[in-house]
C-alpha cells in the first residue's frame, strides 16, 4: 500500500499522529501523568485525616499558600478531594483507560487498518490533552482549584462567596470538563463507527472478543450520557457568569440577598447523575472487557458463557441509564421516584452476579498461567465482588437514608469502580505492553506491584465500611469536633498507612513501565499464546497494521484448549488463532 511509504516527520509520527497505536500511547502516558497527580493528592489528604492538623513538611512543600506551617487549610482539603475525584474518574479511568485500550485494540482486534477517522481520533486526543492542561493549570490559581466536591453541586459551586475555590478555579474546572466531554464524544463516535463498519471478513459481531463488546457498549453509553453533563456544565456556566437562575433560588449569602429566583439545585443533580451514574460503567465496563479477555487467555479456556457476558454487558448498560436517582434519594425529590430508582438499581445486581459467576467458572478446571495481567484480573474480580455487594445496601433507598454520604459510600465506590477499574487498567497494560512497545515488562516487579496494591487496597477500603456505619460523614476536614467519632482515629491511621504503602508501590509500576519501554526484553509476536487478531500483526508497528492483506476470521476468539474426540488438541496447540480455518468435521464453537 502506498501510504506505507509516506515520509513521516517527527511531528506527524510522535505528536500530531493519526495512527491509532501512537494515539493510544499518548492517551496512556497522559493518563499515567494525571494518575500520579491524583494519587499523590489522595496521600496528602489521607495524612490530614489520620493526623488532623498536624504539621508535615511534605504538605508545606507542595501546598504553598494553602497551608500554614505544614498544616493544610480546610479549603485546600476540600480542593484536594475534589480534584482527586475529578482526575481519577475522568482523566485516568475514562480517558486513560478507555482512551488507551479502545484506541489500541479496536482496529487490531476487529481487523482494521486504523480507526474510521484517524483525523478525528487525533483531535480527540488533543482535546483531552488541552483539558488536562487546563485542569492542571487550575491547581495554581490564587484562590485554589475547584473545591465543591467532584459532583460540583450548586449553589456551592456557583458562588465564590460560598467557597474560594468556586471562583476562577471552578471556571477552569468547567472549561476543562467541557473540552473533555468534546474529546470523549469524538472518541466514542469514532469507536462505534469503526466497530460497525470496519470489521474484517468473517468478524461477525458474535465472533468479536469481549473487549470489543465492552468498548462498543461503553462508547454508546458515553454518547448517550456525556452530552447531558455538557448541558449541565453549560447551564452552570450561565448561572455563574451571565446571571441566569437555572439552579439557584432564594439565596442569602455574605449579608445580602442574591437576585436568583426559581431555579433548583435538584435539577443540576438530575442532569449531573444522568451522566454520573453511567460514568461508573463507562469506567468499569472496559476494565471488565479487558479482564474477560485476559482471564480466558491465561486460563487457557474459553470464557464461560460468552453470550451471557454480552447480554449482561448490554443489560448493565441499559439499566445504568435509568438508575441515576439512587444518588438522590434524600435530595428532596419525590419519594415515589425514589421507589422506582430503588427497583431499577437493585436489578443491576443480576447481570453483575452473572458476570462474577462466569469469571469464577472460567477459572474452574483451567490451566492458569499466572502472568501479572492474570493476577490483576483475578484481583479485579475480587474487589468487584466485595464492592458490588455493598451496592445492595446503598441501592435500597430505606437503608441509604442513614449511610448516604458517609464513608460507607466512599468504601463502596472505591472498591467497585475505583480499585476494580484501576486493576483492570493495570491488567491491560501488562498484557498489551508487548503490543504497544514491542518489549516485555518485568514480571517479578509486576508480582510485587500486584500484591502490594491488592493488599493495600483492601487495607484502605475494607475497614472504611465500618467507619461509615459508625455514621462518619465523608468530606470532613477532621472529625475532632465530634467526640462520638473519637474511636475511629486509630483505624484512620491504619488506613492512611495502607494508602501510603499502596501509593508508593505504584513507583514499582512506573519504574517497570518506563524502563521496559527502552530496556525490556524484545517481545515475541504472540507472547501469551492468544487467539485474537492483534497478535497476528508484526511486533514492529507499521501503518495499516498488517503488511499484506488483512487476515480473514474463521472462528470466535475463545478456542482455547479445544480437543477432538481423542482428547488431543484439534490444532495441535492449546490455542487457535481466529484466522485459522475450521478443520473438516470441527464443530464451530
Amino acid at each position: 500500500m502506498s501510504e506505507h511509504h509516506h515520509k513521516e516527520t517527527f511531528v506527524t509520527k510522535y505528536i500530531f499522529s493519526q495512527d491509532h497505536k501512537m494515539i493510544s500511547k499518548q492517551f496512556l502516558i497522559t493518563g499515567i501523568f494525571m494518575g500520579v497527580i491524583g494519587v499523590f493528592m489522595s496521600m496528602l489528604f489521607r495524612l490530614q485525616i489520620a493526623w488532623p492538623e498536624k504539621s508535615f513538611t511534605i504538605i508545606e512543600a507542595f501546598l504553598g499558600p494553602h497551608q500554614n506551617d505544614g498544616i493544610m487549610n480546610p479549603d485546600m482539603y476540600l480542593a484536594l478531594v475534589t480534584i482527586h475525584g475529578t482526575i481519577m474518574v475522568f482523566f485516568v479511568l475514562t480517558a486513560g483507560l478507555s482512551g488507551t485500550f479502545s484506541n489500541l485494540l479496536i482496529p487490531l482486534q476487529i481487523g482494521a487498518r486504523d480507526m474510521a477517522s484517524g483525523f478525528l481520533n487525533m483531535i480527540s486526543y488533543w482535546l483531552f490533552f488541552i483539558s488536562s492542561i487546563v485542569m492542571v493549570v487550575s491547581l495554581f490559581v490564587e484562590a485554589g482549584p475547584a473545591s465543591a466536591g467532584w459532583t460540583i453541586y450548586p449553589p456551592l459551586s456557583a458562588l465564590p462567596q460560598a467557597i474560594p475555590g468556586s471562583g476562577l478555579g471552578m471556571t477552569l474546572w468547567l472549561v476543562s470538563m467541557a473540552i473533555f466531554i468534546a474529546s470523549s464524544l469524538i472518541g466514542s463516535l469514532n469507536y462505534i463507527v469503526t466497530i460497525f463498519n470496519l470489521r474484517t471478513k468473517g468478524m461477525k459481531m458474535t465472533r468479536m472478543p469481549l473487549t470489543m463488546w465492552a468498548f462498543f457498549i461503553t462508547a454508546i453509553i458515553g454518547v448517550v450520557s456525556f452530552p447531558v453533563l455538557l448541558s449541565a456544565v453549560l447551564l452552570l456556566i450561565f448561572d455563574r457568569s451571565f446571571g441566569t437562575s437555572f439552579y439557584l433560588s432564594d439565596i442569602f449569602i455574605s449579608g445580602e440577598v442574591l437576585h436568583y429566583q426559581g431555579g433548583s439545585p435538584v435539577l443540576f443533580e438530575h442532569l449531573f447523575w444522568f451522566l454520573g451514574h453511567p460514568e461508573v460503567y463507562i469506567v468499569l465496563l472496559p476494565a471488565l472487557g479487558i479482564t474477560s479477555e485476559i482471564i480466558a487467555t491465561n486460563s487457557r479456556k474459553p470464557i464461560f458463557g460468552y453470550r451471557a457476558m454480552i447480554g449482561s454487558i448490554m443489560a448493565i448498560a441499559f439499566l445504568s441509564t435509568i438508575v441515576w436517582g439512587h444518588h438522590m434519594f434524600i435530595s428532596g425529590m419525590n419519594p415515589f421516584l425514589g421507589s422506582v430508582f430503588t427497583f431499577t438499581t437493585l436489578l443491576i445486581a443480576i447481570p453483575s452476579a452473572v458476570k462474577a459467576f462466569n469469571y469464577v467458572t472460567t477459572l474452574w478446571k483451567g490451566n492458569l498461567q499466572m502472568n501479572p495481567a492474570m493476577l490483576f484480573s483475578i484481583g479485579l474480580v475480587s474487589t468487584f465482588v466485595t464492592g458490588g455487594l455493598t451496592g445492595l445496601v446503598l441501592g435500597d433507598s430505606a437503608l441509604d437514608i442513614n449511610i448516604h454520604d458517609t464513608y460507607f459510600v466512599v468504601a463502596h465506590f472505591h472498591l467497585v469502580m475505583g480499585v476494580s477499574a484501576i486493576l483492570g487498567m493495570f491488567a491491560g497494560i501488562y498484557h498489551w505492553f508487548p503490543k504497544m512497545y514491542g518489549r516485555m515488562m518485568n514480571k517479578t516487579l509486576g508480582y510485587w506491584h500486584f500484591w502490594i496494591t491488592l493488599i493495600s487496597a483492601y487495607g484502605v477500603f475494607f475497614p472504611m465500611h465500618f467507619i461509615g456505619l459508625a455514621g462518619l460523614p465523608r468530606r470532613y476536614y477532621t472529625n475532632t469536633n465530634f467526640p462520638m467519632f473519637d474511636d475511629v482515629a486509630d483505624i484512620n491511621v491504619v488506613m492512611t498507612l495502607f494508602a501510603i504503602l499502596g501509593g508508593v508501590a505504584q513507583l514499582l509500576f512506573l519504574a517497570n513501565f518506563f524502563i521496559s519501554i527502552y530496556r525490556g526484553k524484545k517481545a515475541e509476536q504472540n507472547p501469551w499464546r492468544s487467539n485474537t487478531l492483534e497478535w497476528t500483526t508484526p511486533v514492529e508497528h507499521i501503518h495499516g497494521n498488517w503488511p499484506g492483506k488483512i487476515p480473514e476470521v474463521h472462528r470466535w476468539a475463545y478456542d482455547y484448549s479445544k480437543v477432538d474426540d481423542n482428547g488431543d488438541y484439534v490444532h495441535g496447540e492449546d490455542f487457535v488463532l481466529q484466522t485459522v480455518p475450521l478443520k473438516d468435521g470441527e464443530d464451530p464453537s
Partner: protein, 335 residues
Amino acid sequence: MLALFYIFIAVAIGVSFWQITRILNFRTSIATDKDNDVQGKLFLGFLAFLYAMMIYCLIFMNVLMLPESASIEGEHDDRLFNITFILIGVVQFLMQFLLFYFSFKYRGKKENKALFYADSHKLEAIWTITPAVVLVVLIGYGLWQWNNIMDLSDAEDPLIIEVYSKQFQWEARYAGDDNALGRGNVNYIKGINTMGVDMTDVNAQDDKQVTEIHLPKGRKVIFKFRSQDVLHSAYMPHFRAQMNCVPGMVTEFGFTPKFTTEEMRVQSEVVEKTAAINKIRKEKGEDPYVFDFILLCNKICGASHYGMQMKIVVEEEEAFKKWISQQPTLAEVIK
C-alpha cells in the same frame, strides 16, 4: 523549594533504578510453572488474609457501630440492614473462596490440559434466577419501609419543627401553639430575624426560635428543612434520619423518638462505646464524652462543613412541655 527537593529525590531514585536494571537486564517476562505454583499458593494465602481481615472487622469493629435505632421507624431499617448484611456476608465469603481457591487449585502446569467448557444454560439460569428471587425479598421489604418512612400524610398530631441551615450553623423553629409555621423567605432576613420569618403572617407570631432541639419521646416529629445559601444535609444518625436542605424549597422528614437521651445513655451498646471513647480521650487528656443525640451536616457546604452541628435532646412529654413553654415566641423577640 521543598517541593523541588522532593522531586529531586524522586528523580534520583528513578535514575538509580535505571542503573540497577542494566545489571538485572530484565530477563524474565512470561510466567513459568514455578511462578504459577508460587502465585497460586499466594492466592490461597491471600484468601486466608482476607478472611482474617473480614472476621476481625466484623468482630472488633462492632463496637464502633451506631447503637440501636432511637426512632420507631428506624427499627425496620436496622432489621432490613441486618438481613441484607448477613446475605451479602455469606455471598462474599463464598465468592472469595471460590475465586481464590480455584486460582490456587488450577494453577497451571505444562502437562495439564484445561477443560474446554464454554457454556451451560442450566448453570446460568441458576445464577440469574437465584439473585432475582433474593432481590424480590430485599426490594419488597425495602420499598415497604421506604414508604413507611417517607409517607408523612397519616401522622396524627405531629410536632412540626423547622430546621434551618446556613454556612456554618443550624437553627431551629418550633411551630408554637397553633402547630403551624409562619412563612419564611430569605428576603425577610434582617437583624435578629435570622431565619427570615415573615412577621406579618399570623402563623408566625407564636413560632419559637431555638438553638437546641428538644423532642418529646413517643410523639411523631415532622421536620421541615430550609437552607439560606448552599446545599446542606440534616443528618441525625441515631434516628436513621437524613434529608438535604435545599435553597429555594422546603424538604421534610419525620420520625418518632423511641428513647430519651437519659435512656440512651444507660443502654448497653452506648455504655460500651462511650467507655471506649473515654479511654481514648483520657489518654489525650480531654474531657470525658457524654452521649447526646446530634444533628450534623452531611453535604459538603464550605470550608467549615466539618464543624456544623446541633444538639438534640429527647425527653419525656412533661419535661418537653416545660422546656418549650420557657422559650419566647417570635412576636416577643422580634418587634
